[in-house]
Amino acid sequence: MITEGQIPHIKNSFIGSFRVFCKNKMGVLSLIVLLFFIFIAVFGQLLVPYDPQSFGQNGIMEAPSASHVLGTDEMGRDLFGALVSGTRTSLLVGIFGTVISMVVGALIGIVSGYRGGKIDALLMRLTDIMLVLPWLPLMLVLAALMGSSIWNIIAVIGLTGWAQTARIIRAQTLSIKERQYIERARVIGSSDFHIIRRHILPDVFPLILADAVTTAACAIDAETTLSFLGMGDITRPSWGMILHYAFESGAASSNAYWYLIPPGLCVLFVVLSFSYIGNAFDEIFNPRLRGRSENGAS
């Protein structure tokens, strides 16, 4: 009886959440922009008439023209092609970095909140230290020491970005832990693992999702910055790598705007989209905020 009653409730809350999201115009627009970039990352290569790594047959540092819509770089490579393959790398790093950071953050947050005591104190001290350490210098040092393959970059981003998530998830776990159904599950002899997997994880999941969006924005920005500062994977062109080459080849002083502007705009659009979607999620999970904005509009 109880479970039957709960299913429509969950469904309604999902549809309700979706309705709240749809009301947020910037959120919907951002979602469309993101889907566009994902489409480019998956199918983009089909749109590019040139091999992105081929050079020699084109002129160098050519301004945009009919044959090269975004011009060419200092080695005569087609920049539109580079941008498209950069989309794939940047999104890949962003997504994998976010996933690692979510898994680590959620694990530490749940264990810390559920176990409490000494383990909690120890893990939270670690989290505080990670929160305080300046992220960019830390990532640069790690990337320099580990070597800059794409998987190392992903690992560096994932392993430095989990602290905020761990704090949020811990707080939520602490409040869920006190609820009656957890108590009941424990009384009938469920193991800790079972309780975490079946009761706590589903409850903190929406929060993990909302936090993932914000983290993804940071991850993409981090990849771009690391690559620009020369810590990127030179075998995989990302938006940050294109900007790195542009800067190194003096595109700024020779006014090669076609080289400089498109990759940065892509980063900007993706990061902004994630931020606006994050704001929309905030309104869903934080009803106080929703009420406030309605008051403000009236």
């Binding site: 305080v132 300046p134 705007y257």
Partner: protein, 322 residues
């Protein structure tokens, strides 16, 4: 604020500093990329020369001896010798600090002032066009990669319009000049990086100010103030702003890590000879002692700033307890 709160925060800061010391040490020993291998990459170096270089940098001793040597060195402010510059790390860092302060302090002041102002207007006129514009522009600058904004500024204002020099701290080719001529030259070089940095940091302050003031404006005492017959302007200035500014005040100190990340990118783009550019050069040259020294310095400053912001928060907001 009571003594227990202060003591707790102080102990936390001390623990964090020790953790930083340990992380900093092990990071540079455990990770692949042996500093000695880097140093003696040139095949022309003889075995004796390699051994003498290793002895010079203390690389020939076992790691635990090196650890105690390292801890002792940190407390005596001896951070070793730079691979590239062949000078004490501390001296090199100390030389670069003024340039970084010259860049970050004016930028921070501009960002706090304009950020708070835009945030205040946005919260006060919530939902109007000026709110949408102010918040939107701030979010764009916030989301933009810092270095990219710097490059765009150089391309537009220096390369295209020719208004400002593209890089460096002063024009070195001019020879001997009076103090004022040189100072003026530095200011001309400073304008573009400072504006870039202020724009990047602005967004954070705007958004925090806006959220904070919006929260405060829903409090009961704001209604009370209106009921007592205060004008809207008076309510904003005397009742809402003082409380709304508390999170911003602590953000200034807490943001040091963010400021350093910004300075790193902007100094790289503008070839500004500060700590950030030094770190970039140390990274490119894999100058481990220098990199370690800079990382340690930055981390300790950030931990200190966080401790300061905790104290400040406890002092400004009496509701905070241990």
């Amino acid at each position: 604020m009571n003594r227990r709160y202060l003591l707790k925060k102080f102990l936390q800061a001390i623990i964090t500093v020790f953790a930083v010391l340990i992380i900093n040490y092990f990071l540079f020993r455990i990770m692949p990329g042996d500093p000695l291998a880097m140093l003696v990459r040139s095949p022309s170096l003889s075995e004796e020369a390699k051994a003498s270089v290793a002895a010079m940098f203390g690389l020939d001793k076992p790691w635990y001896i090196q650890f105690f040597v390292y801890i002792k060195q940190v407390f005596t402010l001896d951070m070793g010798t730079s691979f590239i510059y062949k000078k004490p790390v501390l001296d090199i860092i100390a030389e670069r600090i003024p340039a970084t302060l010259l860049l970050t302090v004016p930028a921070e002041i501009l960002a706090v002032f304009f950020g708070c102002y835009i945030g205040m207007i946005s919260a006060w006129r919530r939902g109007t066009k000026s709110d949408v514009l102010g918040t939107g522009v701030s979010m764009v600058f916030y989301a933009m990669p810092t270095f990219w904004l710097g490059i765009l500024m150089v391309t537009f204002f220096s390369a295209t319009l020719g208004l400002f020099p593209t890089s460096g701290m002063m024009t070195t080719t001019l020879g001997d000049r009076s103090f004022w001529a040189e100072a003026g030259d530095v200011v001309v070089h400073l304008i573009l990086p400072v504006i870039t940095m202020a724009l990047v940091m602005l967004g954070n302050y705007t958004l925090v100010m806006r959220n904070s003031l919006t929260d405060v404006l829903t409090e009961d005492y704001i209604n009370t103030a209106y009921a007592k017959g205060h004008t809207a302007k008076n309510v904003l200035r005397r009742h809402a702003m003082p409380n709304a500014l508390i999170p911003v005040t602590t953000l200034i100190t807490m943001n040091l890590g963010f400021t350093i990340s910004g300075a790193l990118q902007i100094e790289t783009v503008f070839s500004w000879p500060g700590i950030g550019r030094l770190m970039y050069d140390a990274l490119q040259g894999r100058d481990y002692p220098l990199l370690q020294g800079i990382f340690l310095l930055i981390s300790i400053c950030v931990v200190g700033a966080n401790f300061l912001s905790d104290i400040l928060y406890g002092y400004l907001d009496p509701r905070v307890k241990a």
